[in-house]
Amino acid sequence: MTRNRLYLLFFIALIAGYIYLAYAISQQQMHSTFTPCVFKNATGIACPSCGATRSVLLLAHGNFASAFMLNPFGFIIATIMVIGPFWMLYDFVFKKDTLHLAFQKFEQAVKTKWVAAILILLVVANWIWNINKGL
């Protein structure tokens, strides 16, 4: 993927993420049970990342332990959403491509067999945990 394309996609993703987060906060006050997850709506069981929105919202309130118990993915998403804009701004202002290089390194790392195996195991374990919790 080229540098500019990555930055554009990342920018759109961040904006969409924050809009969805604002929407989720406004919904939370009304205790709505709406879920956008296609997988959950189709099969009735939770997907590996179900509960991530609630987890991020709990993190925003400083509730670290219950956020981890709900879905550990929330930590990853929250970290990306907090650091992402600053990192992109840094690259944009100083005309560097550190984010692009980091992304390429990450892609290479994930492609190594044992890293991929560990990550898949973690995701599957989280999925089983999610279904057991009945998210």
């Binding site: 993703a13 956008p36 990342s49 998403i77 892609e107």
Partner: protein
């Protein structure tokens, strides 16, 4: 390379590439050295139809993106449950062409 071999290769593998690239591939293959023939045949090309099926069944987990080698976007898709389902649906229409592009990138490395 032998034009018979090139035509055979193109006949069996045409579905893996975008139609507009086929002429270019043919020309480059004809210029290529005979010794690269085995390497060309050894490339791991992904079938667009298979990836489309994977995308429809497990698209919201990002598995289609992982399979074509877009691991970074695959992780993003997995974390967001297929971009809240929207990205997963968009990818049903994009993934076949993306697969052909990725195949072309793999072949391009050997053609140069």
């Amino acid at each position: 390379m032998d034009s018979q071999k090139v035509d055979l290769y193109l006949m069996t593998n045409a579905k893996f590439f975008q139609p507009q690239h086929l002429n270019y591939i043919r020309e480059r293959l004809l210029l290529l050295d005979e010794s690269k023939w085995f390497m060309i045949q050894g490339i791991d090309l992904k079938d667009p139809t298979t990836i489309l099926i994977v995308s429809i069944v497990a698209g919201s987990l990002g598995i289609d993106r992982f399979m074509i080698g877009d691991t970074g976007l695959g992780v993003a898709k997995l974390l967001t449950c297929g971009g809240l389902g929207i990205w997963a649906i968009i990818d049903w229409f994009l993934i076949m062409d993306l697969t052909r592009q990725k195949n072309m990138e793999k072949l391009q490395q050997l053609l140069q």
